[in-house]
C-alpha cells in the first residue's frame, strides 16, 4: 500500500505517492533528488539530516513520511533565493563555518530554527542549540562565529 500525500517543500506544493514507512530523508534524497540534506548516521545522533517541518527542526532520518501530510518542509535548498545565499548562509561562508561541509546543511538548518526563535542568542544558547549537530572538522568555533555574525546583521524571517 502506498500513501498519497500533499505537503509543501521549500514553498512549492508537492503531491507524492510513496511507501508510508519511507523516511523523510529518503523521500528528499532518493525520490525527489534533493541531495543537499545529508545522511551521516541514520539514527538521529548527528544532525546532518536536519530539516524544518513547520519551522521546527527534525532529524529527517527518523521522520516517517506518513506524518508529512499538510506540513511545510524547509531544506537547505530552500534558503537561497534566486541564487543568493541567505544572510545566515553568507555568514557561514564569510566566517569559515564550513570545512568538509558534510554537517553544514544540518548545522545551518538548526541555526535557522534557533535564530527564528531567538534572534540574539548568547554563545551558550548557540552551543546548546547545536548539541544535536556533530561536526568533526571545525571544533565548532567558526560555526558559532558564523551564527553570531548572522545574529548581528539580522536574519530575514523564514530564510
Amino acid at each position: 500500500m502506498t500513501l498519497e500525500l500533499s505537503f509543501e517543500l521549500n514553498g512549492f506544493l508537492m503531491d507524492v505517492d510513496v511507501e508510508p514507512h519511507l523516511r523523510l530523508l529518503d523521500l528528499l534524497r532518493s525520490v525527489l533528488g534533493e541531495t543537499g540534506t545529508k545522511e551521516a548516521c541514520g539514527e538521529g545522533e548527528c544532525g546532518a539530516c536536519t530539516v524544518l517541518v513547520d519551522g521546527k527542526t527534525v532529524n529527517s532520518c527518523l521522520f516517517p513520511v506518513g506524518e508529512l501530510g499538510g506540513t511545510a518542509v524547509t531544506t537547505i535548498e530552500g534558503l537561497a533565493v534566486n541564487g543568493d545565499l541567505s544572510s545566515l548562509q553568507q555568514a557561514f561562508v564569510d566566517k569559515g563555518g564550513a570545512q568538509c561541509g558534510f554537517c553544514t546543511p544540518g548545522m545551518v538548518m538548526s541555526a535557522v530554527a534557533l535564530l527564528a526563535e531567538n534572534p540574539h542568542p548568547s554563545e551558550a544558547e548557540i552551543r546548546s542549540a547545536l548539541i544535536g549537530n556533530l561536526c568533526r572538522c571545525t571544533g565548532y568555533v567558526q560555526i558559532v562565529e558564523s551564527i553570531q555574525q548572522a545574529a548581528r546583521t539580522g536574519v530575514v524571517p523564514g530564510r
Binding site: C41, E45, C100, G101, L134, R136, T138, G139, Y140
Partner: protein, 795 residues
C-alpha cells in the same frame, strides 16, 4: 608587513557557497544511469576457517544482479605489505574481513541478500592484544607472507629504530631520570561523510572510480594492478575525487570495499556504488592505532636533557595498512623534540585478530608526544624545575641538526613557549594552591615540508590561463575540508598576479591532474604552493615575453577608447621590454611607468591579443606545468636517520583546567595554542585547521575510545562513541601564530594540517597533574580514571 596582496588574508573558501547551499556533491549524492548498489558480507568471527559459503538464497532474491565470493573472481591483492585480498578464502582474520558481496538494484535489497548468505565457519583461537600476540605458541594471524614464505611470529616485518650516542654513559651522567608507561587507545576518524565509492567500466575495459580518497594517484596505481589481475592489462584506471566529507587519514589507503565495487562492476557491466552506513564505518573501516610506550628521559642538574629512550608496541590488527608505519613519524618527535643528545627508539608492530588500523591525523605524533610531554613534566618535577622552564632550557633552535639528521632551518619553539606561558599567566596560575585548578603545557614538532616515506614526495600542478584572464588549476591533491583550495587559490593569485576570484580549481582527477603522492603529512598547501610558484613563474615569463609585441597596440587602443593623447613628455610605451612588466590582480602593468590608466592592460584582453595574433604563426595559449620535489631524504628506517621533511613546524598548547574531585570530571577553562607555521597563508582556513585539530585532541584526551571484545567493536555508533559536541567544548581557544618565514616554504609557510591535535592530550594531563597531583598515563582521561587515581591518594 609582508607586502603580499592576498597571502594571509581571511578570504572565504572558494567552495564554501556550494557547501552551505547543499550543492556540493559527495559520493553519497552521486548516482549514475543504471547504477547498482553493492553490499558486503563481513565475517562473523575474528578468526575462523571458512568451511563453505552458500549464496543460493541471496541470488534468488528479486533485484539481485550478482553475488560474488573469492571463488567467483580473480584474487585482488592489496595493502602496502600485500597481505590483504578483496574477498577472503580459506580464513578470516578479523571481523572486517569481506567474505562475499552483492550488487542489487537498491542498498536495501543488497543488504537483504547479504543477510541471506550462509557461511559455515570453524572458529579458531585468536590474539587480541600485543601481549597475547607475542606469547610463545600464540596462534598466528598470518602463516605465510604475500610471497608464500612461512611466517613464524605475529611481529610485523617492519624495522624502524634509532640509536644515537652512548646511552650507558648518558644514563650515568644524568642527575634525574623519569620512567613511565603510557598508552593511547584506538579512536575513529569519524568523518561525517562515510566511506563510499562508485566503480564503472566502459566497453573497452577502462575503469573509473569515483573515490573518497586522499591518494588519487596511488589509488590509480593500486586499481591498475587490479585491472591487470582481471585480465585488463593496459586499460586505464581513472580516479575522480568529488567533495570529500572529511578524511583525517582514512583515505590514505585503498580499501576492500573499493576493490569489491570494482569486482561487482566488472561482473555486472554496470556502475556499482558502495556506500558505508555509520555502523559499517565504525565496524569495517579502520581506526587509529592504539599504542603502548615505555619511556625514560634523563637530565642533568641544570635540567638539560641527557637522553631519551622509547620503546613502542602497537596492535596493528589483522592486515598491514600505511598505519603500520606510525613509528616512522614517531621518530621525528622521539629524536628531535627538544635538544636531546642521546636517543634510543625501538618499535614493535604486531598482527592481531582485531580490525586492522590505518592512518589518522598526526600519524604517530600525537601518540609519541603523549608519552614525551607527560614524561617531561614528570622529569621536571624530579629535577625540581618548573616544567615551562624545563621546556625553555631544552627548546630547539634554528640551525640545529638533530640526532635524526633533521635540519631545522627555522624554529619558533622558544617564542611559542614564552607566549603560551604569558597568555596562561603561568607564573601565577601554576601550582597556586587552588587544588582543583591547574595549568599545563605541552610542545610539539611536526613535519611541515612534506614527509618523505615514498621514493617521491612530489607534486605536480598545471596552471591554464584562458582567454578571459581566468586561471584553471589542475592539482592532484585533495580538498577534504582542510582548506587546501583556500590556500592554493591565494598562492596562485599571489604568485601569478591575478585576483583570487579569477582562480578556479578543477576537480581532482587522475585523467587531468599531474601526479601527486597524496594529501597527508600536512603537505597539501606546502607542496601545492611550491608547485604553483614554479608554474606561475614560467607563465609570467612567457606572458611578459609575448607582451612585448602586443603591449604598444593595446596602449594605443586604451588611448583611443579613453579619448586621451600623450604629450611629448609622456612615457615611451612603444619600447617596453619584458623585464619591465609586472602582473598585479589581473592587470599587466609597468611599475616604473607613471600611474596612467592607459598604461595598464587587462590580462584577458592581453591574452586574447596574443592568442589571436594577426601575425601568422605567432598566436599561442598559456598553460604551464610544474613539478615540485622537496629537498628531503628518504630516511634509512633501520637507522632512524634522514631529513624527511623540508621544514618542521613547532608549537605549544597550554591549558587551564578544573578537576571535580567528587566526580573526576576534567573541565577545560581555556586553551592557548601558539604555533610556528612559518607564514599564514589563508588565515580563515588555518584557524579552522587549528580549532578542529585541537577539539579532536580534546576528544582524544577526554572521551574517545573504540571498545572491543575479542575483536568485535562494541561501540559502533555515535550513541556509544562520544564525539565532542558544541556544548562540550565551550571554553575559549586562543590562537597565536609565529611566523618564522621558512626558506623552503611557499611564501615561508610550513604545513599546518596536523599540529592542532598533537600536543593537546599531554597539555591537559599536565594541567590535571598541576590541579590535583595525579598523573593519568592512559588515554582517554575519563572521569572514572581520574577518580580512581584521586582515590589512590590523599588530597
Amino acid at each position: 608587513m609582508t607586502g603580499y596582496s592576498h597571502i594571509g588574508t581571511e578570504r572565504p573558501r572558494p567552495e564554501a557557497a556550494d557547501k552551505v547551499g547543499g550543492k556540493a556533491l559527495y559520493v553519497s549524492d552521486i548516482s549514475r544511469p543504471g547504477m547498482l548498489h553493492g553490499k558486503i558480507k563481513f565475517s562473523d568471527h575474528a578468526h575462523a576457517r571458512i568451511k563453505s559459503i552458500d549464496t543460493t538464497a541471496a541470488l534468488a532474491l528479486p533485484g539481485v544482479r550478482v553475488v560474488i565470493t573469492a571463488d567467483d573472481v580473480p584474487e585482488l591483492r592489496y595493502g602496502f605489505m600485500r597481505d590483504n585480498v578483496a574477498l577472503k578464502s580459506g580464513k578470516v582474520r578479523q571481523f572486517r574481513d569481506e567474505v562475499a558481496a552483492v550488487a542489487a538494484v537498491s542498498p536495501e535489497v543488497a543488504q537483504q541478500a547479504v543477510d541471506l548468505i550462509q557461511v559455515d565457519y570453524e572458529p579458531l583461537p585468536g590474539v587480541f592484544s600485543v601481549d597475547e600476540a607475542l606469547e610463545d605458541g600464540a596462534p598466528l594471524v598470518h602463516t605465510e607472507d604475500a610471497r608464500g614464505r612461512p611466517v613464524r611470529s605475529n611481529t610485523m616485518p617492519l624495522k624502524c629504530v634509532h640509536h644515537s650516542g652512548d646511552m650507558t654513559a648518558a644514563r650515568e651522567a644524568s642527575a634525574f631520570v623519569s620512567e613511565g608507561e603510557y598508552s593511547v587507545p584506538r579512536i575513529q576518524q569519524a568523518c561525517l561523510g562515510t566511506a563510499g565509492c562508485i566503480a564503472e567500466f566502459d566497453l573497452k575495459g577502462n575503469l573509473t572510480v569515483t573515490a573518497k580518497t586522499q591518494i588519487p594517484f596511488l589509488a590509480q596505481r593500486d586499481f591498475t594492478s587490479a585491472l591487470t589481475a582481471l585480465g585488463l592489462e593496459g586499460r586505464n584506471a581513472r580516479v575522480v575525487v568529488p567533495a570529500v566529507g572529511g578524511a583525517f587519514g582514512s583515505g590514505l589507503d585503498t580499501h576492500g570495499y573499493e576493490y569489491i565495487a570494482i569486482l561487482l562492476a566488472w561482473k555486472t557491466g554496470k556502475p556499482v556504488k558502495i556506500q558505508y552506513t555509520r555502523t559499517e564505518e565504525f565496524s569495517y573501516l579502520s581506526p587509529r592505532q592504539s599504542a603502548q610506550f615505555m619511556i625514560r628521559q634523563g637530565c642533568d642538574e641544570e635540567g638539560k636533557l641527557t637522553f631519551r629512550e622509547i620503546e613502542v608496541t602497537q596492535d596493528n590488527g589483522a592486515y598491514g595498512s600505511w598505519g603500520a608505519t606510525y613509528p616512522n613519524v614517531m621518530l621525528v618527535a622521539a629524536t628531535s623534540l627538544y635538544r636531546v643528545p642521546v636517543v634510543s627508539f625501538d618499535s614493535t608492530i604486531v598482527y592481531t585478530n582485531n580490525t586492522y588500523c590505518q592512518a589518522m591525523r598526526g600519524y604517530g605524533n600525537p601518540e609519541v608526544t603523549w608519552a614525551i610531554e607527560s614524561s617531561l613534566d614528570d622529569l621536571a618535577e624530579k629535577a625540581g624545575i618548573d616544567p615551562y622552564e624545563m621546556r625553555l632550557i631544552n627548546a630547539n633552535e634554528p640551525g640545529d641538526l638533530t640526532p635524526m639528521g633533521l635540519d631545522l632551518k627555522t624554529c619558533g619553539l622558544a617564542e611559542c613557549l614564552e607566549t603560551t606561558a604569558e597568555r596562561l599567566n603561568w607564573a601565577s596560575n601554576r601550582g597556586n594552591g587552588q587544588k582543583r585548578r591547574g595549568v599545563g603545557m605541552a610542545s610539539f614538532m611536526n613535519v611541515g615540508g612534506g614527509g618523505k616515506i615514498y621514493r617521491s614526495d612530489g607534486s605536480g600542478i598545471i596552471l591554464k590561463l584562458d582567454d578571459f584572464g581566468n586561471v584553471n588549476v589542475s592539482y592532484g591533491g585533495v580538498e577534504m575540508g582542510q582548506g587546501l583550495h583556500s590556500a592554493l587559490s591565494l598562492m596562485v593569485a599571489e604568485s601569478l598576479g591575478v585576483h583570487p576570484e579569477s582562480v578556479f580549481i578543477n576537480q581532482t582527477d587522475t585523467a587531468t591532474s599531474p601526479w601527486d603522492v597524496g594529501t597527508h603529512a600536512s603537505r597539501g598547501a606546502f607542496m601545492a604552493g611550491n608547485a604553483a610558484i614554479g608554474a606561475a613563474t614560467k607563465l609570467r615569463e612567457r606572458i611578459f615575453a609575448a607582451a612585448e609585441d602586443v603591449y604598444p597596440a593595446e596602449v594605443e587602443r586604451n588611448l583611443t577608447r579613453l579619448g586621451e593623447a600623450t604629450g611629448p613628455d609622456e612615457y615611451d610605451f612603444r619600447s617596453v621590454s619584458r623585464d619591465q612588466f609586472d602582473l598585479k590582480d589581473g592587470w599587466l602593468i609597468v611599475p616604473d611607468a607613471p600611474d596612467r590608466p592607459w598604461l595598464r592592460v587587462e590580462l584577458g584582453r592581453l591574452l586574447r591579443a596574443i592568442h589571436f595574433s594577426e601575425e601568422g604563426g605567432k598566436g599561442t595559449t598559456f598553460t604551464e606545468e610544474s613539478f615540485y620535489e622537496p629537498p628531503t631524504d628518504l630516511p634509512d628506517w633501520a637507522k632512524g636517520y634522514g631529513n624527511m621533511s623540508a621544514n618542521y613546524s613547532f608549537g605549544v598548547q597550554g591549558v587551564e583546567v578544573e578537576v571535580d574531585t567528587d566526580t573526576g570530571e576534567v573541565t577545560i577553562l581555556r586553551l592557548v595554542a601558539v604555533t610556528d607555521i612559518g607564514r599564514v597563508l589563508s588565515l580563515q582556513a588555518l584557524k579552522g585547521q587549528m580549532y578542529g585539530g585541537i577539539v579532536q585532541g580534546v576528544g582524544y584526551a577526554l572521551y574517545e575510545e573504540i571498545k572491543t571484545e575479542k575483536g568485535r567493536i562494541l561501540n559502533p555508533g555515535f550513541v556509544d562513541y562520544k564525539l565532542p559536541t558544541a556544548a562540550d567544548v565551550d571554553f575559549p581557544i586562543e590562537l597565536e601564530f609565529v611566523e618564522t618565514n621558512d626558506p623552503t616554504g611557499p611564501f615561508g609557510a610550513k604545513g599546518a594540517g596536523e599540529p592542532g591535535i598533537v600536543p593537546t592530550a599531554p597539555a591537559i594531563a599536565n594541567a590535571v597533574y598541576d590541579a590535583v597531583g595525579v598523573r593519568i598515563r592512559d588515554l582517554p582521561m575519563t572521569p572514572e580514571k581520574v577518580l580512581t587515581a584521586l582515590q589512590g591518594q590523599d588530597i
